[in-house]
Amino acid sequence: MAELTIDGRKVEVPPGTNLIEAARKLAIEIPYYCYHPALAPVGSCRMCQVEILDAGKPPRVTIACRTEATNGLNVSTTGKDCVAARAATLEFLLANHPLDCPICDKAGECDLQNFTYRHGNGVGRFSEPKRDKLKHEPIGDHILLDQERCILCTRCVRFMGEYAKSPSLVVAGRGDRNVIAIFPGEPIHSNYEGNLADICPVGALTLKEFRFKSRVWDLDTEESVCTGCDRNCSILLETKRNRLLRVRPRVNLAVNGHFMCDKGRFGLLEAYNPQGREELGFVKGARVPAAQAAAALASTLTAERGKWLVILSARLTAEELLLAKSVLAPLARQLAYVPTSATDGDGILYTGRAAANEEALERLGIAPLAEEAATKLLAEPATSGLLAFDATLAARLLAGAKGKRLALVDVVRDRAADAAAAPLAAEIFVPGTLASEKDGTFINFDGVLQRARRAQRWPQGTVAETALLQEIAAAAKQELTAFARKPDLTFALLEALGQPGATLAQIPEDGLRLAPALEAAKA
């Protein structure tokens, strides 16, 4: 470890740590633009200037991002030379900046704004005509480029090359004609485009999906987990009046680092603002309140004990799966899940397996059942129907077992890609909830259990899955006292997974790494 002094305070960091990160450990802000913890430092924005104090020598101004912490180094972030240097850099960056903050999406979370307040001069002396450059120019499926707002930190250029492995952005021109640009006629084509809006420290790269939707300070932000694939990237869900407006990655070095993919980012934006959502239940074709549908399901399962095939879904939280296993296994002909078929991942974050919580299903010992086998089982005369938690899968299974009854718990009654096809005729439909509408945990393919916080409210009258399962248990005269005595369901879940000791509130922000599941237990 290297022990150094920053602003008179001692800090220990691993040798090689740069001064920005060392200062961060002391909660001392060294402002920066071109530096990004996930990218190689270039040292060109000149915002992170600090002073190195060496006894007997005048203070030496240098950049923190490319200065490594060494034993005995004495650093000042408040010396007059470095304070003046940072203010000068800001004055330069602001000289040609359009200052259109009132109509800029980035306002409120803009590093140019923030650092100007904290490190700037407070007055502008630039009285020349400002440069004209391209504005709101689409450069990909999701990103618009505003070259006038750009401060040329080149994070975006380096991100596309270093991280997204798709070097599609360049600095074109020279000197004050420098601009960020795509190659002519070759827009960005990448699964990581959305990250550009996050890493851009100013409002130069904005998301089409978020433009002019909200001021950022009006957003409600909750920590959550992406359910787009079984990597379960740590994310933030940002809503306004219960509508999900933006999805952003949150730093979790154990899971996703600093970024997330577009399949997740824009997939969730659609999934959590679902089209055609049903708020009422259905029983035998008649629209009924959700509670009545729930009661119908409870009584059917109880009356026809041992006759329904129950297929659980990886969209449910681990707690819901635990409860479902406990309540439904004694009532079902068989309780199982259909493993999601894997497609190719992208070699970066996206795994290609759209099965957010399949690891939980596996670890809870719920039986995997191939789609074919499930259809066969459903078609058997001894099976009277299918209880499914996913409309898409239900449609596929029923297609091979015509005439079987269906009970469905999902947010929509049908998710058929083919609108002309006959709608899924569920005998009982109980409107379900979205993963974003409840507190719970997800376990990724790597065994990291993370908490997703409730970011949206479910529609009034909804009988959420947990309540539905409790109602079924009550109808079946099951005792749930084993759970009732625990602090919460998460505590019970961790016990069931063989790693007791934490409640939902005690799950760390970056998750809990579970011990590898025993192969025997998995099988």
């Binding site: 270039v42 060109s44 000149r46 915002m47 000289a95 630039f126 020349e128 600095v171």
Partner: protein, 429 residues
């Protein structure tokens, strides 16, 4: 006075290999390759006190001694022939008239740093020089001097000629390396220095054309001879360029420490048309303006540093009476604004902003507070960027303010009157 750099400069066509060999050329390179060690060559150059003629005046032998002695993989000599400093045209003379003088220096330099490949990066606009070098390299290859066994020493030697694409910044050695590799010509942050991480990530020494052209003579006549010329700290001759308003502009080989007055008045024939001198630039655009009362300062790095400027490339530009300093300064501020690579915020914005501000003085709109603004722009960018480009654009700007401040104000005020008159604005009443 006996010259050793410019003997062939009066020629029309470049000296050919057979002619060069008849004059005893390549004997030193042959001696080096067949009977000396790299250490002996480095020591001789170090003892001679040869310093880099590209403008930084760093001791060449010491630079070479930074190169690793034990090598796993290749190392390179890169020749900076991207001569772009306004007022500078000395390397061009060598390459156009006497390419073999440079090429022999390259061979010896490569040997000294254990490099078997040299990359000669030549300014894109230097077509004549490029063609002369291409021919000369082909001659050497045909003669078996360059190739798998230079001078039968068993040691391979190869020179790759590479044309730049016309950017001033590529004369900065690490920007040159990036450009050579096919990247944007932007200076690299240092450390690592080229001796550790240079061309294609290999140990590299970057040397200027004229510097290498000095090497064969040093090997031939010895360090002691070399030190008899020039000053104690900067021995040898320099190819001084004199341009601007003089009777005989040109490239003059004289010992370091020769005064600007001798160069301008004796060799270049004085200010054109017998006019008075308003100012002169001692060593290329970035060294800025000096008033005529500094003409007796010796032209060597140390003497000019004491004047608050630099020797740079030794390219003198003479500005006569009748040319306003503000106009001359604007020419340079436009040039530097155009040529900054733009990666560092202070340089990109500072070079453009200062150009706009000096433009105000030029257009009769200069304000008293603009001097402080210009000073702040320079203070905010000098020593605050990856390379020393801000020092370059601050050269003409800072010296114009330092030596010609009242003239700037006066010219701006005069032109304000002119503007008002042409715009029909009433000045009084």
């Amino acid at each position: 006075m006996k010259t050793y750099l410019s003997n062939e400069f009066a020629r029309r066509d470049p000296l050919l290999l057979v002619e060069a060999q008849a004059k005893g050329r390549y004997q030193q390179a042959k001696r080096v390759f067949t009977s000396l060690t790299p250490e002996q060559v480095v020591d001789e150059v170090k003892n001679a006190g040869l310093r880099g003629r590209g403008g930084a005046w760093f001791p060449t032998g010491i630079k070479w001694s930074f190169m690793p002695k034990e090598l796993k993989g290749p190392s390179y000599l890169v020749i900076n022939a991207d001569e772009g400093e306004p007022g500078t045209f000395k390397d061009r003379q060598i390459m156009e008239k006497d390419p073999h003088l440079l090429l022999e220096g390259i061979m010896i330099g490569s040997f000294a740093i254990r490099a078997q490949t040299a990359f000669l990066y030549i300014r894109g606009e230097y077509l004549t020089a490029h063609d002369a070098l291409a021919t000369a390299i082909a001659e050497l290859e045909a003669a078996g001097i360059l190739g798998d066994s230079a001078f039968g020493s068993g040691r391979p030697m190869r020179i790759v000629l590479h044309r730049g694409a016309g950017a001033y910044i590529c004369g900065e050695e690490t920007a040159l390396l990036n450009s050579l590799e096919g990247r944007r010509g932007e200076p690299r942050p240092k450390p690592p220095f080229p001796a550790v991480w240079g061309a294609f990530g290999r140990p590299t020494s970057v040397n200027n054309v004229e510097t290498l052209a000095n090497v064969p003579a040093i090997l031939e006549r010895g360090a002691a001879w070399f030190k008899t010329m020039g000053t104690a700290q900067a021995p040898g001759h320099l190819l001084f360029g004199v341009s601007g308003a003089v009777e005989r502009p040109g490239c003059y080989e004289l010992p370091l420490g020769t005064t600007a007055r001798e160069l301008v008045e004796k060799h270049a024939g004085g200010v054109k048309g017998g006019k008075k001198m308003r100012a002169f630039i001692p060593g290329g655009a970035s060294t800025g303006f000096l008033p005529p009362d500094r003409l007796d300062v010796p032209m060597d790095p140390e003497s000019l540093r004491k004047e608050g400027t630099m020797l740079g490339t030794g390219g003198i530009i003479v500005i006569p009476e009748g040319i306003e300093i503000v106009d001359a300064a604007r020419v340079f501020s436009r040039f530097f604004r155009h040529e900054t690579c733009g990666q560092c915020s202070p340089c990109r914005e500072g070079s453009a902003w200062s150009d706009q501000v000096i433009g105000r003085f030029q257009n009769g709109e200069g304000r008293a507070e603009d001097f402080a603004l210009l000073e702040d722009i320079m203070r905010g960018s000098k020593q605050r960027t990856i390379c020393v480009f801000p020092e370059a654009f601050a050269g003409p700007l800072g010296s114009a303010i330092k030596h010609f401040r009242s003239e700037l104000t006066q010219v701006s005020a005069q032109r304000a009157v002119g503007r008002a008159a042409t715009e029909g604005t009433a000045l009084h009443g």
